[in-house]
Structure formats: structure tokens, C-alpha cells
């Protein structure tokens, strides 16, 4: 029983409301990522779960117990900080012992816990060193070790990888995933990196302006984003948004927008649009990887539509090539395999995979 339930949680600093009614729940053993741009309230939310910030309204339950006014130490949680927050005057061993000593854990249990966790994280050789003598990755490990020795109900991570360099970050990401798999603790993980959220989490809460925009499994969030913000935030390069108008072509629903050479481009929709919105303005969302060169292999596939677009910029990354295409007044980014990558200045015939297209309401910004 180590669930986390958050009901209509609110937080105000003076007149500024930073969290506006958050609802979340994590099942036992689940890995929840809170992701969003800086200032979205994700770190505040985590601090409230930890008990480091007071609750203005609403409730937080850990394992079913209401913990709104319970002190951090009595919430049975452990936290890994962005700055690692290792006690600089203590050795790694003392850092890991500190929590257990504070709680009066029996000596033999302390020794056993250190042994178990040091083996798990492979930090035995570091136990007698001070944090100042460790590299960034080692400190990160020790910070996790300090959280693990306590065997808490809930793990909280506050952007734990953002102080590491790019390569180490990817390694540690894998490490955390393995660790969670092995330990199986309920985890809440705050990050501003959508890739981290996608790779680690069993469910993601995308936050923006103090509200949860969408709380769902990673693939659902990626494929069917609840609104334009989520669609634009998750995925890199970001989803392309094209203002368009609903129309019909050959008796089926389609979207039209200004295209190449001032003419109207019309793409047939894969799903029929909800009745009664024909002629309405919508925003068409297409991910870069759903554009491809119109070649014979793809031509037969279902749900494809084509358009012609001049190629303005080509950016090879090795594994794939990004290209900026001009569609009417807009720039649209496509992601291509290197062998079918466009050339600069080419007028490319592009296949659009309309099975993955999203339509958004321009007024409410929501997915239609």
C-alpha cells in the first residue's frame, strides 16, 4: 500500500495562485513523471508532496493516509534533489547513515541497509569519501543511495539529472529505470525534459500554468495530446501546427489550408470529423516523423495525403535528417531518413500520414 492520491490541491503565494486544483493518483509501484516548462508549478507540487511546502487547499494522501499537515520526516518518503544536497562535511557512509540515525534505526539494520544499497548502486569504494571528492555521476548515485537506504513508501525525484552532462544524463536515466524496475517503489519524478518523462514514466502528468493539462500513459500523451500545449511540449522537434478549415473532398472529410504557390492544399482526413463542424476553422497538428518522401513504397499505404512544399533548410543529424519545408506562410518541420532526405531548394512531394494527424479547436485549444 504505497499509493499517492492528490485531490484538488491548491497552493497560493500571497495573491498568486501557483497550483490551481491538481488531481493526480499514483498506484503502488507506479512511476509518475511531472513534466512542464519552468514555472509550471511541478517543483512546488513535489515540495508539497514532500511536506516542504504547506497546502493552501485540497488534500494529499500517501498510502491512503491524509498527510496535509504531517511533517516531512513522518511521511515515509525519500527525496533526491537536483543539487544532490549531500551533507558536505560527512562521508558517503555518514550521509547514508544520517537519516537512519535520526530515526533511531538499530545499528545492525543500519549496517545491513548500507551494505545492501552500496552493492545495489555499486558505490562500495566511495563509502569513505566526502561528497567534494566525487564526480557528478557519483554524487547522483550517492544521493539515490541515501534515499534508498530508508526503504520509504514513496520516492520523490526533483530534476535529478539536470546537473549532469548530456552523455551521463542518458546513462543515469537508464540506471534509474533499471533501479525502479528492481526496487519497484512508487515514484514521483519531476523533470522539464520530455524525453526523460517519456522514457521513464508509466504515466506522465504534463503541467502548465499550475494545472495538469493531461495525465496519461506516455504513448497516449504523444499520440493523442489533450491540447495544443501538450502537443507542442512533448516531442522534439515539436509538432507542426497548421491553421486550416474543415472541408470535404470526394465525399469525405478533409482539411484545407493555403499551400504551395498560393493555391489551396487539401488533405483528406483519416477519421471523419465530428458532424456539424464542416466549414469550421481548426488547427491541424502533424508530427515531423509523419511526413515522408512520396515514393512508391509508401504510396499504397492507408491514410496518406500528399502536398508539395519547397525545402528551405536541411539539418542532418546522422541518424535522421530534419528539413524545414514551406507550407503557405508557415514553416513545417519534417523528419526524414537520410536516404530519402530532401535537398535544399527542392520542391518536395511530401506524404502526410493522416492516421496520426490531430485536430485542435482554435478557440479552446483542445483536441477535437
Amino acid at each position: 500500500m504505497s499509493t499517492l492520491t492528490i485531490n484538488d490541491l491548491r497552493k497560493s503565494f500571497g495573491l498568486v495562485e501557483v497550483l490551481k486544483g491538481i488531481n493526480l493518483e499514483a498506484r503502488t509501484g507506479e512511476f509518475i513523471a511531472l513534466v512542464g516548462p519552468s514555472g509550471c508549478g511541478k517543483s512546488t507540487l513535489l515540495a508539497m508532496i514532500a511536506g516542504l511546502e504547506t497546502v493552501t487547499a485540497g488534500e494529499i494522501r500517501i498510502g491512503g493516509r491524509l498527510v496535509n499537515s504531517v511533517a516531512p520526516k513522518d511521511r515515509d518518503i525519500a527525496m533526491v534533489f537536483q543539487s544532490y544536497a549531500l551533507y558536505p562535511t560527512m562521508t558517503v557512509r555518514q550521509n547514508m547513515l544520517f537519516g537512519m540515525e535520526s530515526r533511531g534505526v538499530p545499528k545492525d539494520e543500519q549496517v545491513a541497509a548500507i551494505k545492501r544499497v552500496a552493492a545495489l548502486l555499486q558505490i562500495e569504494p566511495l563509502l569513505e569519501r566526502k561528497p567534494g571528492q566525487l564526480s557528478g555521476g557519483q554524487r547522483q548515485r550517492v544521493a539515490m543511495g541515501r534515499a534508498l537506504v530508508r526503504d520509504p513508501k514513496l520516492f520523490l525525484f526533483d530534476e535529478p539529472l539536470s546537473n549532469l552532462d548530456a552523455k551521463l544524463r542518458v546513462d543515469m536515466r537508464t540506471e534509474i529505470k533499471k533501479l525502479h524496475h528492481r526496487v519497484g517503489k512508487t515514484t514521483v519524478y519531476v523533470t522539464h525534459d520530455q524525453v526523460e518523462a517519456m522514457t521513464l514514466a508509466s504515466r506522465i502528468a504534463v503541467m502548465h500554468q499550475g494545472e495538469v493539462q493531461q495525465f496519461d500513459e506516455p504513448q497516449t500523451i504523444y499520440d493523442r495530446p489533450a491540447n495544443i500545449f501538450v502537443a507542442g511540449f512533448m516531442g522534439s522537434p515539436a509538432m507542426n501546427f497548421i491553421p486550416a478549415e474543415l472541408s470535404t473532398i470526394d465525399g469525405s472529410d478533409a482539411v484545407s489550408f493555403p499551400g504551395h504557390g498560393g493555391g489551396l492544399t487539401t488533405l483528406k482526413l483519416h477519421r471523419s470529423a465530428p458532424a456539424g463542424i464542416s466549414g469550421r476553422r481548426v488547427i491541424l497538428g502533424i508530427r515531423p516523423e509523419h511526413l515522408s518522401r512520396n515514393n512508391p513504397e509508401v504510396r499504397g499505404k492507408e491514410g496518406l495525403a500528399t502536398l508539395v512544399a519547397p525545402v528551405e533548410v536541411v539539418e542532418p543529424t546522422g541518424a535522421e535528417t530534419m528539413a524545414v519545408l514551406r507550407v503557405g506562410e508557415l514553416e513545417v518541420v519534417g523528419r526524414f531518413t537520410p536516404d530519402e532526405a530532401p535537398r535544399m531548394g527542392e520542391d518536395m512531394i511530401v506524404s502526410v500520414d493522416m492516421t496520426h494527424a490531430c485536430l485542435f479547436d482554435p478557440a479552446t485549444q483542445r483536441l477535437i
Binding site: A50, G51, L52, F81, Q82, Y87, P88, T89, M90, S102
Partner: protein
């Protein structure tokens, strides 16, 4: 070839610049040396006079090179010279100062550390205002509080006692010690405190186990500052105590105003040096930490 020609063409100018630089150096070091001399000469005179005997000083004048050497003046100043009708030398006052300075330094430093800890890590509504008010004490001249202290010491029954002076110096020192420690603790990351709170440590455990072990640089600064300040303090000493309870600074003045027939410059010099030794020792032992502590900002 071209390079060589260029170098030769430049050479005379370089020589002129070199000469000019040398002149500037000589001038700078000359002036600095002069200032250093102005600073050091009084100390030299006092040190030399403390080892000369009185007849020689009387004969050759106060400022002259020593013709004799003896430790009599030091023994006399320490043990037997008569001050205000009391012929025990400086030792009683020396120990008065010591028993005043050590507790007052330790207590005010500890209180400052605790204040700084609270004001930086456990902020509460109004804590900034409180800190600003405490800062006023840094700028407040001591004589303003003479009357209130006289009243309070009287009420406490601590007038004319070393303990009374300890109380005065503890309170008077709080502004400085709090300022030092608070500004130092501001640079201790708040995440450490949060981590410790989650780890189950309370207010005092965090202070003892996390904050204090990080504090030696600032504690050394504070202790040196407080020790020299309290040891050298004169006003409170002379106003609130008299006779056998006086600290050494007050006794030194009593010694010069002794009203005895001839001024014993040798003994006076030795007495002054006895009075100056402890702060000097503290500085020699801790001076490098003092400078390091003052310049050290963040804890990494």
C-alpha cells in the same frame, strides 16, 4: 630581418619605459616603507623600553636605542607594581580580562551562530525586519547604551563585577556575530536543510550535525573579532567596574594616572605589552583563517 630591425627601433623606447617603471617602483615602495615605519615605530619604542631599566630611560630619554637589557620591568608589571594602592601588578586585571573575554566571546559567538541559523534557514514572518533591527546595533555607538546598562546591571546586582561585563559584551556583540553568521549561512544551500528534514532531523540536530560542521571559517572570524573587540574594550570596563574588578584596559589607564612621583616608563611599557599580547596571539594563531574566512563565500 624585418623583425630584428623592428626590435632595434623599439629598443630605446623600451629602455625608457623600463627606467620609468623602476622609478615608479622605488617611489611606491619608498612611500609604503615610510608608512610602515610610522606604524611600527611606536611599537618598537614600547618593546625596547620594556626591556630597558628606568634610570637608563631617564638618562637617555624615551626614544633612544637600548643600552641595557633586563626583564625586571616585566616581572614588576605582572606581579608587584602598585596600581591605585594595590601592589599586585597587572596579573589580577589580566585575569579579569581573560575571565571576561573568553566567556563573552564564546557565548556571543554561539548565540550569533544560532541567530544566523534561524534568520537564514528558518525564516518566519518578520524575520527580515528583525534582522534589520539587529543590524542597527552594528552602527550604534556604545555610549548610547551606558545608562540603560547601568540601570540593568544595578537591577541584576551585577554592577562592578566581571560577570556584569560578560553580560554586557554578550549582548553588545550579538549584532556583529549574528550578521557574520547569518550572511555566511545564506550561502549554505537550502536543499541541505530540506534533505535533512526529510531524513528526520529536527531543528537542533540540523544545527549540530549539518550547520556547525560547515561553520569553522565563519566561527574563527567571529571569535577573533569578538575576542580582540572585547579584550580591547575600554568604555564599559571603566564605567561599570572599579578597583579589583577592572579589566586590563581600565587598569592600564589607572596605572598611568597613578599619581606616583616619577613615571616608571619601563613598567608601563611592559604593562601595555602584557595588555596587548592576547589579541596579538589570537591574531597570529588565527589570522590566516580570519582572512580566508572573510573572503570565503559559497560552500562547495
Amino acid at each position: 630581418m624585418a623583425d630584428l630591425a623592428l626590435a632595434q627601433a623599439l629598443d630605446p623606447e623600451a629602455a625608457v619605459a623600463g627606467r620609468r617603471r623602476l622609478m615608479a617602483r622605488v617611489l611606491i615602495y619608498g612611500i609604503l616603507g615610510l608608512f610602515a615605519l610610522v606604524y611600527i615605530v611606536p611599537l618598537l619604542v614600547v618593546v625596547m623600553n620594556s626591556f630597558r631599566d628606568q634610570p637608563e630611560i631617564a638618562r637617555n630619554g624615551l626614544i633612544s636605542l637600548p643600552q641595557s637589557f633586563g626583564l625586571d620591568a616585566w616581572w614588576s608589571a605582572w606581579d608587584s607594581y602598585c596600581i591605585g594602592g594595590n601592589c599586585e601588578g597587572m596579573k589580577r586585571y589580566f585575569f579579569n580580562s581573560l575571565w571576561m573575554t573568553i566567556p563573552a566571546t564564546l557565548i556571543s559567538t554561539m548565540l550569533g551562530a544560532m541567530n544566523g541559523y534561524v534568520l537564514s534557514k528558518w525564516r518566519f514572518r518578520g524575520s527580515e525586519i528583525l534582522f534589520t533591527c539587529m543590524l542597527l546595533g552594528v552602527f550604534m555607538p556604545g555610549q548610547i547604551s551606558l545608562m540603560p546598562w547601568a540601570f540593568i546591571l544595578g537591577k541584576l546586582g551585577l554592577s562592578n563585577s566581571v560577570v556584569g561585563l560578560v553580560v554586557v559584551h554578550c549582548v553588545q556583540g550579538l549584532s556583529f556575530t549574528t550578521l557574520f553568521c547569518r550572511n555566511y549561512y545564506i550561502s549554505v544551500p537550502d536543499d541541505l536543510i530540506k534533505a535533512a528534514r526529510i531524513d528526520g532531523a529536527g531543528f537542533w540536530r540540523i544545527f549540530w550535525k549539518i550547520i556547525l560542521p560547515l561553520s569553522p571559517p565563519i566561527l574563527i572570524v567571529t571569535v577573533i573579532w569578538q575576542f580582540t573587540g572585547i579584550w580591547n574594550e575600554y568604555l564599559f570596563g571603566v564605567v561599570f567596574t572599579s578597583g579589583s574588578q577592572q579589566p586590563i584596559t581600565a587598569a592600564l589607564v589607572a596605572l598611568t594616572a597613578g599619581g606616583t612621583t616619577a613615571s616608571a616608563y619601563d613598567v608601563m611599557s611592559a604593562a601595555v605589552l602584557i595588555g596587548a599580547l592576547p589579541p596579538l596571539l589570537v591574531y597570529f594563531l588565527g589570522g590566516k583563517y580570519f582572512v580566508r574566512g572573510l573572503t570565503q563565500g559559497a560552500i562547495k
